[in-house]
């Protein structure tokens, strides 16, 4: 993991999550998630943002099928600073070295406007998924993330594909336990934010993005990620 693991705070939490791995019977959940995902892997595309959930899922699925197809959406430098993006790509390649990595970049992400408007993002992102033409999309979505996700079910049919959520039944504790147990690399910004907002609330989302203003994300970015505010 690309963080200072000697940090006392992190060491303490690593201990906690490793204990939870046994206590919470996370290995049973992992086995179940892998069994659930297996039928979808041959015709499926594994979408990986680089966040903790998708990285944990990728780690599980790559052990089942090393040559799986992985899709990563590059938001562009104004939404994800290049240093963070490079770290994400490095992490994906470390976890799934034999995977076929498909990367597409958001065309507006090279402009600061991308922080203000997000309708074009949705149009381009879903248009890209459509053009890739896969039958199954495997995503690291979890039920306990939001009410909307909890009522969606583990398999969601879209117009042109089916979304499959292997780690749907994982809690945030389970995911962190898995990450610490297997040393799955995640972006180091996680730890900076987790220290302040807590392990349960920390999210890997686009930076300074007004779309997440209602969750208070850009306000914290201005204080914690100020270096990227004007020229990421």
């Amino acid at each position: 993991m690309s963080v200072n693991i000697e940090d006392e705070w992190l060491k303490k939490w690593k201990e906690y999550f490793l204990a939870w791995y046994d206590e919470g019977k996370v290995d049973e959940k992992v086995r179940e998630a892998m069994e659930f995902a297996t039928p979808y892997l041959d015709q499926g595309l594994v979408s990986v943002s680089g966040g903790k959930d998708s990285m944990a899922m990728l780690h599980m699925l790559a052990s089942l099928k090393p040559d799986l197809k992985v899709f990563h959406w590059d938001h562009g430098r104004w939404l994800v600073p290049r240093g963070v993006e490079e770290e994400v790509l490095r992490n994906i390649k470390t976890v799934a070295p034999e995977a076929e990595l498909i990367i597409r970049r958001y065309s507006l992400g090279e402009s600061e406007v991308s922080r203000e408007v997000w309708a074009p993002w949705y149009r381009e992102f879903f248009g890209t998924l459509r053009s890739l033409g896969f039958k199954y999309h495997l995503l690291g979505i979890r039920a306990d993330e939001s009410h909307r996700r909890s009522v969606r079910g583990r398999i969601a049919k879209r117009d042109e594909w089916v979304e499959v959520y292997p780690i749907y039944n994982f809690s945030w504790r389970d995911v962190w336990a898995y990450i610490f147990k297997y040393g799955v690399p995640v972006p180091s910004v996680y730890f900076r934010y987790a220290k302040l907002v807590g392990w349960d609330k920390v999210r890997f989302v686009t930076f300074f993005d007004r779309e997440f203003e209602k969750y208070g994300a850009p306000q914290l970015d201005s204080v914690l990620s100020w270096r990227w505010k004007h020229n990421p």
């Binding site: 302040l196 907002v197 203003e213 209602k214 969750y215 208070g216 306000q219 914290l220 201005s222 004007h230």
Partner: protein
């Protein structure tokens, strides 16, 4: 104008929108409020003309090139860690009857996360007109972000003359963002706004980072 040390003693923690506060921004904002009176409250408050209305000669802060000789905030005690206050901010208008959208639009609710520091005092260095600075700062009951929910309330302000001019550099360290184009040497540089109003994109330049080593 004389070199000054300005200390704000706080009643409540200070909420931040950036890692530092800028004294020149506080003083100029107070000056604008003073000049405009109630007109200041007429939206939009961010109009460019409000700054243009005040000639440079009336701003009580010394300028070096186009940079004000006034430091960023120095928090005391300095080892206090950032904390987060989370709250749900509702619009100031009462919700009307019937179905309304609260996720977006006029009645949008915000879940805010405010970074704050529970510090006792905040110190700035500047080169200013002492009397005018004292007069203006009496008009600041609170500083920083989220003052409307109680952050950054000021107990008292102390303005004292000092021997050295530390508004730009102190002991070889930059005390504010200084454009690297004005420096002989610098240790660390980032794109930052370096003059008020700090929200203006045109005021952003590659600057030496406060509290890093520089040479003029």
């Amino acid at each position: 104008m004389e070199p000054l040390e300005v200390t704000f003693y706080l009643k409540t923690p200070i909420a931040l929108g950036f890692p530092w506060l800028y004294l020149d921004a506080i003083l100029i904002n107070l000056k604008i409020m003073d000049e405009l009176g109630e007109r200041y409250l007429t939206p939009p408050p961010k109009v460019e003309s409000t700054l243009v209305d005040i000639p440079d000669s009336e701003i009580p802060i010394k300028k070096w090139k186009d940079v004000y000789v006034s430091s960023v905030s120095i928090f005391e005690p300095s080892d206090v860690g950032l904390q987060v206050f989370e709250y749900f901010k509702k619009g100031e208008y009462p919700f009307p009857e019937g179905k309304i959208r609260r996720g977006s639009g006029f009645f949008k609710d915000f879940y805010l996360r405010v970074g704050y520091l529970p510090v006792r005092s905040i110190k700035f260095y500047c080169t200013c007109e002492k009397d005018e600075v004292e007069r203006l700062l009496k008009k600041a009951p609170a500083i920083g972000k989220e003052r409307n929910i109680g952050f950054g309330f000021v107990k008292k302000v102390e303005v004292k003359e000092i021997e050295h001019e530390w508004g730009l550099i102190k002991d070889g360290l930059a005390m504010r963002p200084i454009p690297v184009a004005y420096l002989k040497k610098y240790e660390d540089a980032v794109h930052l706004a370096y003059k008020p109003p700090y929200w203006r994109k045109e005021h952003v330049a590659l600057c030496a980072v406060p509290f890093t080593r520089v040479e003029l």
